[in-house]
């Protein structure tokens, strides 16, 4: 979704881009088990994790997503600016 918005990529191109950045296959990209483990390991946000206290979610996950996908996320940039990180 972020690649569609940010780079106007169509779905297949966007999937290939994300899979390449995550170093996984297209099959793994759409697999809930693979992606749950990967999202937890990389700290890029999960729908559900146990224990939840250890999960990256919201802004912290978006910081990592921006870096991994090599894109700018507006809320991350505004957060950095307002928190004096930039």
């Amino acid at each position: 979704m972020r690649l569609q918005l940010d780079k106007k990529m169509k779905i297949n191109e966007a999937k290939e881009y994300v899979a390449r950045k995550l170093n996984i296959t297209l099959e793994e990209l759409v697999d809930v088990v693979t992606m749950s483990e990967l999202r937890e390991e990389r700290g890029i946000g999960l729908a559900h994790v146990e224990p939840n206290a250890e999960a990256n979610m919201g802004m912290e996950a978006k910081f990592r997503i921006a870096e991994i996908l090599d894109i700018e996320i507006n809320s991350v940039e505004k957060f950095k600016k307002r928190a004096g990180l930039k």
Binding site: M1, R2, Q4, L5, D6, K8, M9, K10, I11, A14, L26, E27, V30, I44, G45, A47, H48, M57, G58, M59, A61, K62, I65, E72, I73, N74, S75, V76, E77, K78, F79
Partner: protein
């Protein structure tokens, strides 16, 4: 006795049809789209695939592995409160969409879903979006309709063209619409600035063209200005219908007449305006069968995705893109519509 398959009419009511009846309706629905849109028909292979989808066994059907797409929506974060009557704030609504419903994005929108209303409370709306952005990982939109009809007297500043036109005051009616466009673009871009400032990922110009070609023009002009002034804020333009009503009739964008544009023409205007995503609509005919409707939908949508250089999300909600016109949507034909839109219509999202 010849086998009959369970399917539905466009209003959602149950109907049982034979293979011959389904295939005939697929041909007729497709022919209607070809005639109206002056577009190519589906191939024989695609119509056979469509027949297979319509008659596939099981209640819910799914796409081929690897063909999953993403979702965007309109007034999404308000639906749990407004439609289900569950009193949760919109930032929590957004988290529920992300972590319970598995949405790929959602928009924060006011329950009075138009930019004229939002203008007066834009900073307060932006505060809710800011809170939601802190707690969610998926992209968040701010969304509303341009809704040009709200700019007419007595509530709005310009004369009502729907009153002027029957009175034969053509020039005045055209001028009123042109004036309303200026007001609407000003309101939409004002709201967009507030949302860009708090970090919104994207901005939804929903149901564009609801009040006709001037309404569609307002969305295009607003999109152009937003993407120039706030490049960090991406725009999705969703259409109101399968063709733009010519309430004005003479308005052009980039030299192209807006009135009468079907999805494959609408998407080129949307691209030119700088939008990232186009939300295409094909109307559901309540009096015709699901096979007729979905064949017509796929013909229009495929013609649109064939020429689109930006992602196309089919508006697969109540009464559009093959989805029946009823409040509680049946998963049988909805999942078939989604599968057909993705596998035959080649959409990039729903």
């Amino acid at each position: 006795m010849e086998k009959k398959y369970f399917t539905r009419m466009g209003d959602g009511s149950i109907v049982h049809m034979t293979e011959q009846e389904i295939k005939a309706d697929i041909q007729l629905g497709m022919a209607d789209a070809v005639m109206r849109g002056k577009i190519n028909p589906l191939s024989e292979e695609e119509t056979q695939k469509l027949y297979d989808i319509v008659t596939m066994s099981g209640i819910i059907v799914g796409v081929e592995p690897g063909m999953q797409v993403v979702s965007s929506n309109d007034s999404g974060s308000d639906k749990i409160s407004t439609k289900c009557g569950i009193p949760v704030t919109r930032d929590i609504n957004a988290m529920i969409h992300e972590r319970v419903l598995g949405a790929d994005s959602v928009d924060i929108g006011n329950s009075d879903y138009n930019y004229k209303t939002v203008k007066g409370i834009a900073k307060r709306e932006a505060t809710i979006l800011k809170q939601a952005l802190r707690n969610t990982t998926m992209p968040l939109f701010y969304g509303a309709m341009t809704n040009l009809g709200f700019y007419t007297k007595p509530d709005g500043p310009v004369d009502n063209w729907a009153v002027l036109l029957p009175e034969g005051k053509i020039k005045e009616a055209l001028q009123a619409q042109e004036d309303a466009v200026v007001h609407a673009v000003k309101d939409v871009t004002f709201v967009a600035k507030q949302m860009a400032d708090v970090g919104a990922d994207a901005f939804m110009l929903d149901t564009s063209g609801a009040a006709g070609d001037a309404d569609f023009l307002a969305a295009l002009l607003a999109c152009e200005e937003i993407t120039k002034k706030h490049p960090e804020l991406k725009v999705e333009i969703g259409a109101a219908g399968e063709f733009v009503l010519g309430m004005h009739g003479k308005l052009k964008y980039d030299g192209q007449r807006i009135a009468g544009a079907y999805p494959h023409k609408q998407v080129k205007l949307v691209e030119k305006a700088g939008a990232s995503i186009f939300g295409a609509v094909v109307n559901t005919n309540c009096n015709m069968s699901f096979p007729w409707n979905i064949a017509r939908v796929c013909t229009f949508i495929k013609a649109c995705t064939d020429v689109a250089e930006i992602p196309v999300h089919a508006n697969a909600g109540m009464g559009v893109c093959g989805i029946p016109m009823c409040e509680n949507l049946p998963a049988d034909v909805c999942s078939r519509a989604d599968k057909a839109l993705i596998e035959i219509g080649k959409v990039d999202g729903l």
